[in-house]
């Protein structure tokens, strides 16, 4: 749903060289959607002195170049572009939808039974509810190419693990609170693991290097373990 276009986002300095933009939409989903519209407007404006645009769950960070001259003017320009973007918000943006194969077997979903217990569901229902939504990639963060997905089923919203795992297998589809995510590489992690995809989410030698981008849509498609990792093919199948 397009959110209210009228309210002006709040802009504040975080430190001396970054601006945090908070959209004014009343709902969390609306703010998330506005983050994408405001980020797109700033990206298109190509303001000199802006180093990075970092969309997040319900805010946007604009990182400025400490070596650029006249950062107060850069701030004014950011505010001007954001004000203009507010008027255009609500215009439906073109979106890409990715379909990612996901295996939800017990080996790929080591936290399934505990989440099922906590949520009062049976294990199959946990898998079904994980696969049902069309997710929105709200942002990438944490580690290169890690997507934070909006749209998780209310019944699967459980707290993260009390202490993080030392190593989460690459491709793990995981949940924590209202967020779902996918670990692009084997890293430590505290989210609950409910499935695993063989799809490669980050490859620095490719352009773009991240398979997903903020604003994209993602659907998870059930596959068997053998379909995900054919026995003959080399790959991560054998490892954990």
């Amino acid at each position: 749903m397009p959110s209210s276009p009228t309210a002006v986002p709040q802009v504040a300095w975080v430190g001396g060289h970054a601006l945090r933009v908070r959209p004014a939409a009343p709902s969390e989903d609306g703010r998330g959607e506005q983050v994408h519209a405001l980020c797109a407007a700033l990206a298109e404006a190509r303001i000199e002195g802006v180093l990075d645009l970092v969309p997040a769950w319900e805010s946007l960070l604009v990182v400025l170049d400490e070596h650029a001259a006249g950062l107060e003017q850069v701030e004014a320009e950011v505010v001007r572009v954001l004000a203009g973007a507010g008027l255009a918000a609500g215009k439906p943006a073109a979106t890409r939808t990715h379909v990612l194969p996901v295996c939800t077997c017990a080996a790929c979903a080591p936290d399934r039974d505990e989440v099922a217990r906590a949520a009062g569901l049976d294990a199959r229902e946990v898998g079904a509810r994980l696969l049902a939504p069309t997710y929105v990639v709200q942002m990438l963060g944490f580690t290169p190419g890690f997507p934070y997905l909006r749209g998780l089923d209310e019944g699967l919203r459980v707290p993260r693990l009390p202490s993080p795992r030392r190593e989460v297998p690459a491709g793990s589809v995981a949940v924590a609170g209202a967020q779902a995510g996918i670990y692009p590489a084997a890293t430590p992690g505290g989210w609950r693991l409910l499935g695993r995809t063989p799809h490669r989410l980050f490859d620095a030698s490719q352009s773009p290097c991240a398979a997903l981008a903020a604003g994209d849509r993602v659907r998870l498609q059930q596959v068997t373990h053998e379909e995900a990792w054919p026995a003959a093919a080399p790959g991560p199948a054998g490892r954990r």
Binding site: H17, W57, D65, G141, T143
Partner: protein, 324 residues
């Protein structure tokens, strides 16, 4: 083509330049030298542009053999440099000064006696392929490579034919070291400062913090008074600037450095002034640290003035002068 052969790597030695800004929306950290001031300075001393790839050394230096000759300079914590040139007695080399090392010589870099990091710049820069626009190594993900190990060889440009610049004089060295070893750092209020209650903020700014032993290029963990974070220490995930001071739980603060993820979910009570990030990169475990509050415009002014002062002490090298 010359090369540098690693005989002994230090505790954490990696190739770093000014990092990969512009990739944060992909979840890619800035990386680059933790102490960018020392990187710029070391590069300028050997005639490089500020962003040439250099070695970042941590607490201990290591031992390196030069093949084909190299011009080097060390900036940051003044680790001891000992040159073993073939057919000559070992000799000490001054920091903050360019030196031409002959073919076959060995450079021994001693431990840091104060501070934590130094940059060893090499004329022409370390030659290796860029990954996402940078030669920097992001240690947590392996993007761009890994920390150096004994047996690694780095490609270098040949020894420049132009004479080396003069090194920094004693007064200039003292001034730079005073910046890098200062007893306090300047910081602004953080993005969530208004969510901490007044006693928590007063406690944060009014107390000394102790640098913990778990520091790395992602961040420095500090121990201090029981500053209670809002939201039980978790907030919706937000973009995090370098130097953000997060409070995950009472008694603990984390200062984000160059390898930190571009996003995070802990409340941010303060944010280090950009000019003082090099100082944070020099913190040693056990050190006491105080933070002095400044307004954002003050942080920008301090940062501009610091950059101008560095230019006065050691002017930048004109762009696109590739050594022969």
């Amino acid at each position: 083509m010359a090369s540098l052969h690693v005989l002994e790597a230090g505790l954490c030695t990696s190739v770093q330049d000014l990092g990969r800004p512009g990739q944060a929306a992909l979840g890619v950290a800035r990386s680059g030298a933790a102490d960018t001031l020392s990187l710029r300075l070391a590069n300028r001393l050997v005639g490089n542009e500020d962003g040439a790839a250099a070695l970042e050394l941590t607490l201990t230096g290591g031992r390196y053999r030069v093949q084909g000759g190299a011009r080097v300079a060390l900036a940051g914590t003044p680790m001891e440099l000992r040159l073993h040139a073939p057919g000559a007695a070992p000799c000490m080399l001054a920091p903050f000064t360019p030196h031409d090392l002959p073919e076959g010589s060995e450079l021994e870099v001693g431990p840091a006696r104060m501070g934590a990091r130094a940059c060893l710049a090499l004329a022409g820069g370390v030659q290796q392929d860029e990954v996402l626009g940078s030669r920097s190594v992001h240690l947590p993900s392996g993007l761009g490579g890994r920390a150096l190990r004994a047996g690694d060889t780095l490609r270098l440009h040949s020894l420049p034919r132009t004479p080396a610049r003069a090194g920094l004089d004693a007064a200039a060295q003292a001034e730079v070291l005073a910046w890098l070893m200062a007893a306090h750092v300047r910081a602004t209020e953080g993005g969530h400062a208004d969510r901490f209650d007044e006693p928590a903020r007063a406690l944060f700014w009014g107390s000394a913090w102790r640098v913990g032993s778990q520091g790395n290029r992602m961040g420095v963990r500090m121990e201090g008074p029981a500053v209670r974070p809002p939201g039980e220490g978790r907030l919706p995930t937000e973009g995090m600037p370098l130097g953000a001071v997060q409070v995950p739980r009472a008694g603990e603060a984390i200062v984000l450095l160059c390898d930190a993820p571009p996003t995070g979910g802990y409340p941010v009570i303060a944010c280090l002034c950009a000019a003082d990030l090099p100082r944070a990169a020099q913190w040693r475990p056990g050190e006491q640290v105080r933070m002095v509050p400044v307004a954002p415009e003050e942080a920008r002014r301090i940062t501009r003035e610091r950059a101008a002062r560095l230019d006065a002490l050691c002017p930048p090298v004109a762009a696109s002068r590739v050594p022969a």
